[in-house]
Every structure is written in C-alpha cells, then in structure tokens.
Symmetry: none
DNA sequence: AAAATTATTTTCCTATGCGATAATTTTTCC
DNA sequence: GGAAAAATTATCGCATAGGAAAATAATTTT
C-alpha cells in the first residue's frame, strides 16, 4: 500500500482529462481494472514493470508519475531524418576523405540529418608520434575492427589494442586516436553521433585543408 | 519478477561506479540488501514506493532507472551517457539474444543511455517465408555486411542484395527484415538509434519470449 | 422513476515483493 | 595458499501487489 500519493493523483487526472474509463485504461495498458482503481486511490504501489506498462500504454513519459519531473517532455517526432527512405552503399560508394592518419569513406551521405554517421576508415598512422595530438569531438563514437588490429588511445585510459572483430564505444568528447598495429592493412567501421558536417569541420580544423575526392 | 532488465543494469552500474556495496546502498536507501541484490539481477520488480526511496536515497533522478521513453534519444547534452568513459568488447563479450531469425550480440551493454546501439548479428533465416512478417521499430538503422551476403527486405522498396563490405542506412520505422543468401554463414554489424530496451522489447513482442544468455 | 446499462469499488485469492538470516562466493591479509 | 573478513546470493516467511469476479454506485433509457 502506497505512502506516496502522487501516482494516484497523476493517473486519475490523466484519465479524467482524456475521458477514459478504467476499462479504457485497462484495455490500453493491459493492467486490470481493479489494480488501476486501487492505484488511483493510493491503495496499491505499482511495481516497476507495471509502471512501464502503464506509461507505455498511455503513451506518456514515465516522469508524469513522479513528483520531481524536471520538465522532460522531449517528444519524439523531431526533424528531417530519412523518413521512409533508405540508402545503399556499394563497393566504392561514399565520400572519401584523406588525412595523414586515416582514409575515410563516409557512407550514406545523400541522407541528411541522420541520427548517427557511419564511416569506414583505413588507419594509416603506425605510431603515436606519427599520429600527432589526439582529437576530440562532440558526441559518442563506436568502432568495430574489420581487418588488422588497432591501438586505441584515449585521454583518460591506457591505450587498448583491438583485434579483428572487437569493438569499442566511448564518449568522443575525450580526445582519442587510432594507430595501426603491425604492418598489415587495418580497417575499421566507425559510427559517430555528431553531425557529419561538424565531424568534417573538425578534420579541417586539425589538418588544415583536406583531400577529398 | 521482472521482465524489464533496465532497472537491474542501471542500479548495478550506478553502484559499481561509485564503489558502493549492497550494504552501502541499503544504508542510503533503507531498502534491504536482499531486495537490492534481487533487483540488480532482475529477480524483483520494485514497487513505486521503493523506486522513489531508491532514487532519493542515492540522490539520482528517477529517470536513471527508466530507459528513456519515446523522445530523448538523439539529443545532444542530455543526462547519463558514457561521459568520459569507454567500453571495450572482446571476442565473446556482449548480451546474446537468439530468435528464430537472428542471433544477436548487443555490444557495450554496460553503457546505458547510448546515443545509438551497436549489434553484431548472425542471420539465420534463408527465405522470406521462413522469416515471417517484417518488423519495424522507431528510429534509424544502419547495417554493414561483415560476412556472406544478405537480402534486405523493406516495406517500400524492392529487396536489395548486399555483399560483404556493403551497407545500408534506412528509416527503421519502415518494416524490414534480413534474409541470408546462399548457404555460407552470414554476419552483419548493425547500429540502431532507438534505445536498447525498446529494441529488445519489440523482439519479445514479436516472438513471445526470447532466448537470452 | 424503475429498469437496464455502464462505471467504480470491494472481496477473495494467488503470485510476487521484500525483509531477516543462512549459505555461498569473493576478497583480503597473514 | 589457507584462514578470516567482506560481499553477494539463496532460502524462508509474512505482507503486499494485482487479477477475476461479485457488489455497489452512477448514468442512461424507456
């Protein structure tokens, strides 16, 4: 039985505002009418699972049911992604960019405003000296080793070696850099969460002009 | 007993990051050690009251314990991403999930609230009939073929065949499905923009219970 | 306004939450 | 490398969550 009265009030208010009956809400959420009734009258303290069922069924943010609720709201339908579209990358498609350290191929560049940016890169630098200063950019980055092995250097960690098939996910706000191990070719698939333009910009910043085909 | 695994992982992560023992957390929150232990292992679905006790005791926002609902995903400066952190996936790391059509390995699952979700999947279905109805989920999806070739089926397009090294980016709100071509093993690397839990949820929705190790 | 219909609460029962303590595992310190 | 200590997990039992259906209250119909 509940001490916190907020859940009950929030639920009842939501329900009445939308002119839903308990049966309606039961239908939408899969919770029983009796459980809902008791919840509204604070005679029942729903478990985690049921809370999720409730908020998903009613399509409201979970914070609706908690006091503090720091104005979350961030609703879905944000801007112009590839709504209903797709883009295929064949063998040599993509936007190729060369720097002293990497040769990038940015994929699916004809789709704008993607939620993340996929890139295939060949690592050229063979030592940290050759690489130069590490680079940081907003967002998060994931890298999967397709071929060879890489040494990943990051600001707050000891370098880590990744072999083919291994991967890493990190906050790309930490400065970072990839160095090829051994002398076989070394290729990775990276995904970045910051916009393509800002990634390419930071390359230009770092290397001056840049070789694009 | 819980179905939603997020609470357990979020709590354990929070606890370990701060070097707290279960006893410490029990002290701070007033919940029993055994309840906490079970919660972390998803054997217990805390009630509303206890959730509030937990978040207040640990002085974290309640949303820490919920996979960000509909909206939040690709926003920039939002809460608890892997700020300043990294996560490495060795050969057999990851959260493995099997369905009739795929065998997934979700990567970097110890980082919560990632901006996108990397997955390695082995495609098992060999025909569209075998695959069954296509599946849709919020957000965007990118897939790169690591091995073999796949036929990608999507709602508004003719099927496309991708060979090793090719890739596709599309709106995953379109129903879609992957089918292996030929009879060699077929492995892909996928990235999805919607939260891990909601992906796994839609799997469960689709297949009923699901085989997780 | 009584009957019929629809909405809500109560009752009763089973499954699950959750705490005390015992058993086990992991870590620390000789 | 084994004993002691610390941390985690398992077991048991009572209390509460939560569903089905009966009882009551509120609306609508005729």
């Amino acid at each position: 039985m509940t001490k916190e009265a907020h859940l009950g009030r929030a639920l009842r208010q939501l329900r009445q505002q939308n002119d839903w009956t308990l049966a309606d809400v039961s239908e939408m959420t899969g919770l029983s009418i009796s459980a809902l009734s008791k919840t509204e009258r604070n005679q029942l303290s729903l478990s985690y699972d049921k809370l999720i069922q409730l908020s998903q069924g009613l399509k409201v943010d979970i914070t609706t049911f908690f006091e503090d609720a720091p104005g979350t709201a961030a609703q879905s339908g944000n801007s112009a992604g590839p709504a209903g579209r797709r883009s295929i990358n064949r063998a040599d498609d993509g936007r190729m960019i060369k720097t002293p350290n990497y040769q990038y191929v940015y994929l699916s560049t004809e789709l704008l405003n993607k939620k993340f940016v996929p890139i295939v890169a060949d690592i050229k630098a063979r030592s940290l000296e050759e690489f130069g200063p590490l680079v940081a950019h907003d967002g998060e980055e994931f890298t999967y080793v397709l071929q060879g092995s890489v040494e990943v250097h990051t600001e707050h960690y000891a370098p880590a070696i990744l072999k083919t098939g291994e991967s890493i996910y990190f906050d790309s706000g930490m400065a970072h850099g990839y160095v090829a191990c051994g002398d076989q070719p070394c290729r990775v698939m990276s995904v970045c969460s910051s916009p393509e333009a800002s990634l390419i910009n930071s390359l230009k910043q770092h290397f001056g002009e840049v070789d694009e085909s």
